[in-house]
C-alpha cells in the first residue's frame, strides 16, 4: 500500500504493507536506524517517536495510522542541531550502552512539551521506558537540566 506521511519535516512516501509497524518502516524501509527495537510490544519504550507531537511507541503503531500525519524521530528532534534534551544528555554524561537513549530522549522531549518544568514526581509518572545499564540517576538530572536549557532559550 502506498502511504504518505511527514518524517522530520519532509514528505515521505512508502509502499509497504499497511499493518507494518511504523518502527520497521523507519528502520528497514527508510533506513532511519535511530529508533530502536526493544520488545515489539510497546513495553520498553526504545522505539518512542513523536506522532503529531505526542510520544508513541512505534513498534505498536501500524504505518497506516500515520498516513498524512507528522512523525518526528531522534534524527529530526533537533532539526539539524542538538535539541535541548540531547544537549542536557551530553552535559550530564547520561548514555552508557546508549541503546535505549533515543527512546528516553524522545519521551523526555514530549514530557517537556506538556510539562515544561517537571517535578521528580512528574518524571516518575511520565518516564516509563526501560534502561538496563542503569543510567536513570543521570537521566533524572538531565531531564531537569533540559528543562532549564529550554527556559533559557
Amino acid at each position: 500500500m502506498l502511504l504518505k506521511f511527514d518524517l522530520n519535516g519532509k514528505s515521505q512516501s512508502v509502499d509497504v504493507p499497511e499493518d507494518m509497524p511504523l518502527l520497521w518502516v523507519l528502520r528497514d524501509t527508510l533506513q532511519q536506524k535511530g529508533t530502536k527495537f526493544g520488545c515489539g510490544k510497546g513495553l520498553c519504550g526504545a522505539c518512542t517517536v513523536h506522532l503529531d507531537g505526542n510520544a508513541i511507541r512505534s513498534c505498536s503503531i501500524p504505518v497506516s495510522q500515520v498516513q498524512n500525519k507528522k512523525v518526528v524521530t531522534i534524527e529530526g528532534l533537533g532539526q539539524g542541531q542538538l535539541h535541548a534534551v540531547q544537549q542536557a544528555w551530553i552535559e550530564e554524561g547520561v548514555p552508557q550502552c546508549g541503546y535505549c537513549q533515543p527512546g528516553f530522549m524522545m519521551a523526555t522531549a514530549d514530557l517537556l512539551q506538556r510539562i515544561p518544568n517537571p517535578t521528580d514526581a512528574d518524571i516518575d509518572d511520565n518516564i516509563t521506558n526501560i534502561c538496563r545499564c542503569g543510567t536513570y540517576y543521570r537521566m533524572r538530572k538531565a531531564i531537569h537540566k533540559a528543562a532549564q536549557l529550554n527556559q533559557k532559550d
Binding site: V16, K36, W89, P95, G98, N129, G134, Y137, R138
Partner: protein
C-alpha cells in the same frame, strides 16, 4: 605493504594510511623482559600472533590517531578509558584519537573476552608501553628530520617539538619509509605526571549515542541485505519434527524458507515480512513429557543435592551445632535474565569463500572460531567486525546466531540479518541460575569463631563454550557460581565454603558479576545478623573480622569511607528511615555501600545509596562513577523486582514489564566516593553489584525486624 621490522614488530606504511603500529611482543629483548615480568604478575594479555598483522594505532594524514580497540564498547566506557591511556603515553590530546572496534582482519584480536571487569586492568600496562614505543619512534625520527638531538625534543599534542621547531606526527610519518625501534625500553610516566589519566573526561562515544547513530549490531547493514526470522525451540528440550512451510512461503515478501538441521528460518525482503511469515510456519515439535516446571527447578538447586566440592576450608569447622551462640540462615535467589536492551543481532555476508560478520559480541575470537567450526570456513576468511553493543552483561559471550547468519548468507548468496525477538532472548538465550545458600556460624565473646557457607547453584562457567569441557573434572567447583562466595572476613580462623553443583536441564551461565550478587546477598545479610546477635555496630563488627593485610586494609578503607559519606550509625535519620551497610571485594576491588530506605505503602522504597570503591589507579573517575551507578541500579532492579520461573517448559515471563525491572521512579539518589590506592587499575564493572542487595536487606531488617532471605524483595509486604 606489510613490513615486519625485527621479526614481529609490525609497521605498516603506505599512501593514505600513514604509520600503523602493531606488535608481536616476542620481537625484542627489552619487550620480552617486560612480557615475562607481566606474566609473572598474572597480567599478561598477549594481543598478537606470529602470523597475523594486527595493528593497534594508525597515524592518519590529518594527524589523528586511529586506535583499534580489541575490547568492545558495551556501555562500560572502555573506549574512553583506553583512549585516555593511549593519549597519555602517545602525547596526543584525547580529541586526536578516534577509537574503532578492532576487526579480526586488521586489528588486535582479543584472545579473551570483553567481560569480567578486566578490560582496563588487563590491557593497561601493554597499551601504555605500546603507545610509549610509538611516541619514542616518532621522536627518534624527528632527530634526523629536524637535526636536533633527542634530548632536546619533546612530544606533545601530536607534535615533536624542540628548539623552536616542530613536526606533527603525520608530517614525520609522511617523510619516513624505514622505521627503527628504540634501543631501550621507553620509560613510562609516573602517576604524578599524568595529564590525561585520572581526568573525568566526557565519553568519546557520547555524541554518536546522543545522535543515535547506527552503531549497533541490530543496525548493521550491507547493500541488498535480506532479513531472516529464525524459529527457535518453544520449550526446553523440544525436538523439531516436520516443517510445513506451504503457507509461510507464499507470504508476501518471503524469499525462501531455509531448513537446516538445527534451525529453520524464513528469509524475506523485510524484517516485518519475515516475522509475519514465521507465524504461518507449521512445525511439529516433540516436547519432553512432562514439561519442565518450576518445582523441579527448585528441587534441583538445593544444598545437599548435586556434586559437592569444598572450595575453602581453614581450621576446625565442627561445632556449628544449634546453640545459644549459633545462627543458621538459608537464602534463595531466583532465575534472572540479562534483559539487555539490544536483542542480539548479526549481519553476515558470505562471498567467494569469505565472510564478513558485523555484530555485537563480547567474545570476538570465540565467535569466529564457532563460525569456523560450524561451517568449515577458515578462520582467516572470517572477518568479525564488532559493533557497539546495546548492553552486554554476559549475554553476548555465547553467539550461535552468528553461525546462523553465515549459513543463511551462504544459502541465499546475499547478505542476511538475523535478530532475536525479545521473547527469544528470554527463552532461547541463557539465564542467571537460581541459588540456595546455607550460612552457619558460632559466636564466642562477640566474635565469629567459626563460619560456613554452603552454596547450591546452577552452572555459570561450567557448560559455557568459553570454558574447556574438562574444567568440571579438574576444578571441581564452578568459579562463576562461587564468585563472591568466599569469606572476605579472613580474621575468622575457622571457615569453610562448600559448593554443590546442581545441573539444570537448560542453559544457565554468565550474568554481570556471576555469583557475586547472590553470594554477597547471603554472606552480607548473615554478617549483619551476627553483628546484631553480638550487639555490635555492623561496620565495626565487619572491620574486626577483616584481616588487616594490604587487601584487607583497602576493604576497611571503603567501609570507613562509606560511613563517612553516609553518616551510618552517626547521623540522626528522619522518622521511618533506616540505613543498611554491606561490602564485598571482587576482582580485587573492594566496595562498600550504604542504603537508606523507608517503607512506603507497604513496600520498600530505597531513598539513597552511598558507595565507596577502591579500584586502584583510576583512568576516568566519571566512568568509575557511571559504572557504580549502573551496577547499583541493575543490582537494585534484580534484588527488588526480578524473577523468572519455568512453567510448562517455558521461561515465564518472556517480555519486559511482565519481567519487572527498575524504572526511573525506583532509582534513588546515588553518591559515589572513589578511593585510589596503588598505581595499577583494577576492575570496576562488576564489584558494585555485590553489596547493593544486602545493603537494602540490612536496612529493611533494622527498620522492620524482618530478615529478607529471598530475592526479589517485592515479595515482602510491610504494614
Amino acid at each position: 605493504m606489510w613490513k615486519a621490522t625485527r621479526r614481529n614488530f609490525l609497521i605498516k606504511t603506505g599512501a593514505g594510511l600513514g604509520l600503523a603500529l602493531g606488535l608481536g611482543w616476542v620481537g625484542k629483548k627489552v619487550i620480552r623482559g617486560f612480557i615475562v615480568e607481566q606474566a609473572d604478575k598474572g597480567a599478561l594479555v598477549q594481543f598478537s600472533t606470529d602470523t597475523e598483522p594486527q595493528y593497534w594505532f594508525e597515524v592518519q594524514k590529518d594527524n589523528t590517531i586511529l586506535f583499534h580497540s580489541p575490547k568492545i564498547e558495551m556501555g562500560q566506557g572502555v573506549f574512553s578509558a583506553l583512549a585516555q591511556i593511549v593519549a597519555e603515553e602517545l602525547e596526543v590530546s584525547i580529541n586526536q584519537i578516534k577509537v574503532v572496534h578492532s576487526a579480526t582482519s586488521h586489528g588486535p584480536i582479543d584472545p579473551n573476552t570483553t567481560g569480567g571487569s578486566d578490560s582496563i586492568s588487563s590491557t593497561f600496562s601493554q597499551l601504555s608501553m605500546l603507545a610509549a614505543l610509538m611516541r619514542e619512534m616518532l621522536r627518534e625520527r624527528a632527530v634526523a628530520l629536524l637535526g636536533i638531538p633527542l634530548s632536546n625534543l619533546s612530544a606533545q599534542n601530536g607534535y615533536v617539538i624542540g628548539q623552536g621547531k616542530s613536526l606533527s606526527y603525520a608530517q614525520i610519518v609522511a617523510q619516513t619509509s624505514e622505521w627503527s625501534l628504540p634501543d631501550t625500553e621507553p620509560t613510562l610516566k609516573k602517576p604524578e605526571k599524568y595529564q590525561v589519566i585520572g581526568k573525568p573526561l566526557p565519553r568519546v562515544d557520547l555524541e554518536a549515542k546522543v545522535k543515535a547513530e547506527p552503531i549497533f549490531g541490530i543496525d548493521a547493514t550491507f547493500p541488498d541485505m535480506v532479513y531472516a526470522a529464525v524459529v527457535r525451540s518453544p520449550y526446553f528440550g523440544a525436538v523439531r519434527g516436520i516443517v510445513n512451510a506451504q503457507e509461510a512461503s507464499k507470504f508476501l515478501g518471503v524469499i525462501r524458507v531455509v531448513e537446516q538441521p538445527d534451525f529453520v528460518a524464513i528469509v524475506a525482503k523485510s524484517r516485518y515480512e519475515a516475522l509475519m511469515a514465521k507465524e504461518k510456519l507449521q512445525i511439529a515439535w516433540t516436547s519432553p513429557t512432562p514439561l519442565l516446571q518450576q518445582k523441579e527447578v527448585s528441587d534441583i538447586v538445593q544444598i545437599g543435592k548435586g556434586d559437592l566440592t569444598v572450595v575453602q576450608e581453614n581450621g576446625d569447622v565442627t561445632g556449628l551445632e544449634e546453640g545459644e551462640d549459633s545462627i543458621k540462615i538459608e537464602f534463595h535467589t531466583p532465575l534472572g535474565a540479562h534483559a539487555q536492551m539490544e536483542p542480539n543481532g548479526v549481519a553476515a555476508y558470505y562471498k567467494d569463500g569469505k565472510v564478513v560478520v558485523k555484530m555485537s559480541t563480547q567474545s570476538v575470537k570465540n565467535t569466529r572460531n564457532e563460525i569456523s567450526e560450524a561451517t568449515g570456513i577458515r578462520v582467516e576468511d572470517i572477518d568479525i567486525q564488532p559493533t557497539f553493543m546495546g548492553g552486554g552483561f554476559g549475554r553476548r559471550l555465547y553467539t550461535p546466531h552468528a553461525y546462523e547468519a553465515v549459513v543463511l548468507s551462504q544459502e541465499m548468496g546475499l547478505p542476511v540479518h538475523v535478530l532475536f525477538e525479545r521473547e527469544q532472548e528470554f527463552q532461547n538465550g541463557y539465564l542467571r541460575p537460581p541459588t540456595h545458600h546455607k550460612l552457619s556460624a558460632k559466636l564466642n565473646n562477640g566474635k565469629i569463631e567459626v563460619i560456613e557457607h554452603q552454596i547450591a547453584s546452577g552452572d555459570v562457567a561450567f557448560g559455557s563454550s568459553l570454558v574447556p569441557s574438562f574444567a568440571p573434572t579438574v576444578l571441581g567447583a564452578d568459579f562463576g557460581a562461587w564468585r563472591g562466595g568466599l569469606f572476605h572476613y579472613e580474621n575468622i580462623q575457622n571457615n569453610s565454603v562448600k559448593y554443590w553443583r546442581c545441573q539444570l536441564p537448560f542453559f544457565t551461565s554468565w550474568w554481570r558479576g556471576l555469583g557475586l550478587m547472590a553470594n554477597s546477598f547471603a554472606i552480607e545479610s548473615f554478617i549483619d545478623e551476627l553483628a546484631k546477635k553480638a550487639k555490635q555496630d555492623p561496620i565495626s563488627f565487619r572491620i574486626t573480622h577483616i584481616k588487616p593485610d594490604e587487601r584487607g586494609q583497602r576493604l576497611i578503607g571503603v567501609l570507613k569511607e562509606v560511613q563517612r559519606i553516609s553518616g551510618f550509625g552517626q547521623k540522626a535519620l528522619p522518622e521511618g528511615h533506616s540505613m543498611g551497610v554491606a561490602c564485598a571485594t571482587d576482582v580485587n576491588t573492594p566496595v562498600a555501600q550504604v542504603a537508606e530506605v523507608k517503607i512506603e505503602n507497604g513496600a520498600i522504597k530505597v531513598l539513597k545509596v552511598y558507595c565507596a570503591i577502591d579500584p586502584g589507579l583510576v583512568i576516568n573517575p566519571d566512568g568509575v562513577k557511571a559504572q557504580c551507578e549502573g551496577a547499583i541500579s541493575m543490582g537494585l532492579s534484580a534484588s527488588m523486582f526480578e524473577e523468572l520461573t519455568i512453567k510448562d517448559g517455558k521461561v515465564t515471563p518472556n517480555q519486559y514489564l511482565q519481567y519487572q525491572m527498575a524504572q526511573i521512579r525506583d532509582i534513588p539518589d546515588i553518591e559515589v566516593s572513589i578511593l585510589s590506592s596503588g598505581d595499577k587499575p583494577r576492575g570496576v564493572g562488576e564489584p558494585p553489584m555485590g553489596p547493593i542487595a544486602p545493603a537494602i536487606a540490612n536496612a529493611v531488617a533494622s527498620l522492620t525486624g524482618t530478615r529478607m532471605t529471598k530475592i526479589p524483595f517485592k515479595q515482602y509486604q510491610f504494614n
